[in-house]
């Protein structure tokens, strides 16, 4: 792992730089530390930062850019005639990379055998067998063109690695020399170091923006790619979801959206009354002792991972519902995985979410409003229904919208509990499926990212992202607009 070694060398250089820089500064002041402009540590940190930060930046950029550049170089050299009829350059390049990776692995494990490489024209299967031996399975035999491309890919990658090591070390040493040269007792090390640290802090804070950009870009590019292969109108207006990896799939999002909304609706029907009444009781009626006992217990439900709820739906709630509504009971249900199963379990998951958010909001209603209402002779429940709840309503609506967004984005419960069939149906005892469950099923397994059946997952992800984002923005807007009305 050369990148790891390079990292360790950089860190070591940084430490040396710190020690040397500090010593040089102290020496320049003739051992009298109070003659220095800054503390000795600042001079050390200055050298260490100058060594590590630029070099690390160069290394990161190189590591990210290298695959792209290599791809571009190798694919322009690739003979066009050698690309099979029904494949694109991207597809061939992914083969090239896999073979290169396999050869690297074979070399690392010491089983690299030159003979299949030389006899590729006569015996194409031998190379495939060798690569399969190191855990790189190929879909087809290797053609000589692909092999030569992957060999040049490997050569370029190796020289790229060497160039990166050289450049990074060069940058580190230049930084070292520059910082040492500037280190002198007059040098304002503290100001420079603090400005540098502040830049790093800003960078850390910007990672949130970078993440959002990453999400949006990865969704948009693949979604556009999908819409080039599959018309957008079919996706947004299609009433049938029937992917088939052989081609001729119908990829309509509406049945999935319906399943998502239906399950979320059932979940909210379960969670909102229970959560809201629990919040009302905890904030208005409960004694401090009951509150201190019941509130954390209910919030445990929020800390349980969703995989647990998924298993609960699949193995406990589903069979239980089957015994009541299934063949032995009312005969309404065909299988344990259904809208109602996933909806009920998701509702349980959302109870603490609704209750703790509403609890905060109800507590924020000023006591004077309640006192005024009592003074007019209303009972406690009348006060709650006619004064506290209307005052807290915007916040509660916001909380419910947040819960809805959580329900729409929930994955594990529906993957395990809702079934796999996409359909537009009103019967809650039928199996239906959701956007999130289909993202999982289209992208797991041996995904070939070029097919519309896999790319549709990105379009689904985009839909999901937009819906949840919109719900959150609306929820926050409602809360913000009405929050200070009573203060």
């Amino acid at each position: 792992m050369p990148a790891l070694w390079l990292l360790l060398i950089l860190i070591l250089l940084g430490v040396i730089g710190y020690v040397v820089g500090r010593a040089r500064a102290v020496r320049s002041a003739g051992g009298n530390v109070s003659d220095l402009h800054s503390l000795p540590n600042h001079y050390g940190s200055f050298v260490a930062l100058s060594v590590v930060v630029p070099a690390l930046t160069v290394m990161l950029i190189w590591l990210l850019a290298q695959p792209l550049v290599l791809n571009a170089i190798v694919s322009t050299d690739f003979p066009v005639v050698a690309i099979p009829e029904n494949a694109s350059v991207d597809l061939v390049m992914s083969d090239v990379r896999r073979i290169a990776e396999g050869l690297d692995k074979a070399e690392a494990q010491g089983v690299l055998d030159q003979s299949p490489l030389n006899t590729i024209a006569d015996d194409a299967g031998a190379l495939r067998g060798m690569l399969a031996g190191v855990g790189v399975a190929l879909g087809a035999d290797v053609t000589p063109e692909v092999l030569s491309a992957s060999q040049s890919y490997r050569a370029l990658a190796a020289s790229g690695q060497g160039m990166m090591t050289g450049l990074v070390l060069l940058v580190a040493l230049v930084g070292f020399a520059y910082a040492i040269r500037r280190t002198h007792k007059e040098f304002r090390a503290r100001n420079v170091v603090e400005a540098g640290i502040k830049t790093l802090l800003i960078f850390a804070a910007s990672i949130a923006i970078l993440t959002t950009i990453g999400i949006v870009l990865s969704l948009i590019f693949n979604t556009l790619h999908f819409f080039r292969l599959h018309p957008a109108s079919d996706f947004f207006q299609g009433l049938v979801w029937a992917p088939s990896f052989g081609g001729g799939s119908e990829l309509g999002v509406l049945p999935l959206l319906w399943g998502t909304l239906y399950i979320s609706l059932i979940a909210l029907i379960v969670a909102v009354p229970v959560g809201l009444f629990a919040a009302i009781y905890l904030s208005e009626y409960a004694t401090p002792g009951v509150r201190a006992f019941a509130k954390p217990l209910i919030e445990i439900l929020a800390g349980i991972p969703t995989i647990v709820y998924g298993l609960f739906a699949l193995l406990t709630v589903g069979p239980m519902l089957m015994s009541v509504f299934g063949r032995d009971g009312l005969g309404w249900m065909q299988a344990g995985t259904a809208v109602i199963t996933a909806g009920l379990v998701m509702g349980i998951m959302l109870i603490p979410f609704v209750s703790s958010l509403s609890d905060d909001i109800i507590n924020a209603v000023p006591q004077s409003l309640r006192d005024g209402s009592y003074a007019l002779g209303s009972t406690q429940s009348e006060t709650i229904r006619q004064v506290v709840l209307p005052a807290a309503l915007p916040g509660i609506v916001g909380a419910i919208l947040l819960a809805a967004s959580r329900a729409i984005g929930e994955t594990m419960i529906v993957v395990l509990g809702a079934g796999a069939a996409a359909r537009l149906d009103l019967n809650p005892f039928e199996a239906m499926t959701t956007v999130t469950a289909k993202i999982v099923s289209q992208l797991t397994g041996d995904a070939d990212f070029a097919s519309p059946e896999a790319l549709v997952a990105f379009a689904l992800g985009m839909t999901l992202f937009v819906i949840t984002l919109a719900l959150n923005v609306v929820a926050l807007m409602i809360v913000r607009t009405y929050r200070e009305q009573y203060e």
Binding site: L4, L64, P67, R97, E194, K198, L201, A204, A205, I207, A208, I209, T212, I215, S218, F221, N222, G275, F277, Y281, E284, A286, A294, L297, I298, I300, L301, P305, T306, I307, V308, G310, L311, L314, L315, I348, I351, S355, T379, S381, E382, L402, S405, R406, G409, T411, M412, V415, T436, I439, V440, L443, T444, G445, F449, F458, L464, F465, T468, L469
Partner: protein
């Protein structure tokens, strides 16, 4: 008021119909609240009860204790004790030995059974038993020719029979066990040949193939989770703290700051599966990092937990009173020094609490891991070292539980529940540490 005036005969103390109705409404309303709380608590009890009642079985396992004669005629045909030759004998060579030994044990104890052939013992023993014997012989070839007592895994059907999962009335169509074999199992339990013991292999072991639920363990995926958590901790703590310090202490009120704040609050609400898509597109499609690697899982979970860590860190920084900063600035510290030397140490307990809770959230998260390929992979190999721990394909605890839940054999469901018990134990531990940290170090100013 007018009521009282118009009815001079009725005092304030007696209730009229309307007051009674209002009070009944009050009682009803209150009862709804009690019912809601009770519903929540009952659901919690049912959920935990289901987990414990279904999961404890995974921690017990049926074993068959027999003496096996390691026949040199079968295991070392050339008789030269050459390790290369011994390795050539596959597990198929060992399985009959165990079956014969079990049959001999039955005859020695005088147990009546219609089963007279060694092959009919096959369904009582796990198919991993042969591998267990082979491992011992390869490790100690001098054992060949001796009679060694083994504690072999019983088959999953026998194990299920002991736990009440496999019942006589349900096995008519089951070709992996018969009624005679269950009768024999009863007799062997009586004789103490088949025993039930604590299943350490479930906690430390690796996942097994679809046909051997009795051998499946969660140990390897636990290591996968551990490596992911190391990545999450190493990245999200410094980045989260740095971002919070900037936003809380240095950021001017401008557009960039607003943009960052909006982004953080939105990211906190993005569904976790979308982070999986991000990881797939950026780390695997674009940066060509290895699929199924804990490193990639850790990176994705880091991005997912960062908002949580940032939000709690900012709250912790905000809780440090401004007088601390003013005092530091007053004695000549720079802004940076006041933050790093005074504010940050005081906020550290709160920051650690938030980080631990973020880690707990990351530990239980499954959906993004499905997309980066940590599922559908049988985690049978322990990582060989640090680099291999981060870069080689592995599973993670929740992904392993999902994997078991999808398999056809109900014996795996018991493992899934057992895995959940272990996962919840970890989460509980992390939460308790967080609570203790808060209790121990929280300061009220």
């Amino acid at each position: 008021m007018s009521d009282v005036m118009s009815n001079p005969g009725r005092g304030l103390q007696t209730q009229d119909a309307r007051a009674r109705r209002r009070h009944r409404a009050e009682v009803r309303f209150r009862a709804y609240g009690v019912m809601a709380i009770a519903t929540g608590l009952i659901l919690l009890v049912i959920l935990l009860g289901t987990i414990v009642s279904n999961g404890t079985g995974a921690f017990r396992q049926a074993f068959v204790e027999i003496d096996v004669y390691l026949d040199p005629a079968k295991l070392d045909k050339k008789g030269n004790r050459d390790i290369a030759d011994i390795k050539k004998v596959s597990t198929f060579g060992y399985a009959p030995l165990a079956q014969q030994a079990l049959l001999a044990e039955i005859e020695a104890r005088g147990i009546e059974t219609p089963l007279r052939k060694a092959k009919e013992m096959k369904n009582l023993l796990s198919s991993s038993a042969a591998a267990q014997m082979r491992d011992l012989v390869i490790a100690q070839p001098e054992m060949i020719g001796q009679t060694v007592s083994f504690r072999l895994l019983a088959s999953s059907r026998v194990d299920g029979y002991l736990k009440g999962r496999v019942m006589r009335e349900n096995i008519a169509k089951d070709k992996n066990i018969s009624v005679e074999q269950l009768d024999l199992t009863d007799a062997l339990i009586q004789a103490g040949v088949i025993t039930s013991g604590f299943n350490m292999a479930f906690i430390t072991g690796s996942d097994a193939s679809e046909s051997r639920p009795e051998q499946a363990g969660i140990g390897v995926s636990m290591l996968g989770s551990l490596f992911m958590m190391v990545v999450v901790l190493v990245l999200s703590l410094p980045i989260g703290v740095a971002a919070s310090i900037y936003l809380e202490e240095f950021a001017p009120k401008n557009r960039l700051t607003d943009l960052i704040e909006v982004n953080i609050s939105n990211l906190a609400a993005v569904p976790s599966i979308v982070f999986g898509i991000l990881g797939l597109a950026v780390f695997i499609q674009f940066a060509h990092l290895p699929q199924s690697a804990p490193l990639v899982g850790g990176l994705v979970l880091t991005l997912m937990t960062l908002p949580t860590v940032i939000i709690s860190t900012r709250a912790a920084l905000k809780a440090v009173p401004p007088s601390i900063r003013d005092a530091a600035l007053g004695v000549g510290a720079s802004k940076m020094q006041s933050v790093f030397h005074h504010v940050l140490p005081l906020a550290m307990p709160g920051i650690l609490t938030g980080t631990i809770l973020g880690l707990a959230q990351a530990l239980g998260e499954t959906a993004p891991l499905l997309l980066i390929g940590m599922v559908g992979y049988v985690a049978t190999n322990y990582p060989g070292g640090l680099a291999s721990g981060f870069l080689d394909p592995n599973s993670a605890m929740p992904a392993q539980i999902y994997e078991w839940a999808k398999r056809a054999d109900p014996a795996f469901y018991e493992r899934a529940w057992g895995g959940i018990m272990i996962l919840l134990a970890f989460l509980l531990m992390m939460n308790i540490i967080a609570i203790l940290l808060r209790r121990r170090f929280e300061r009220r100013w």
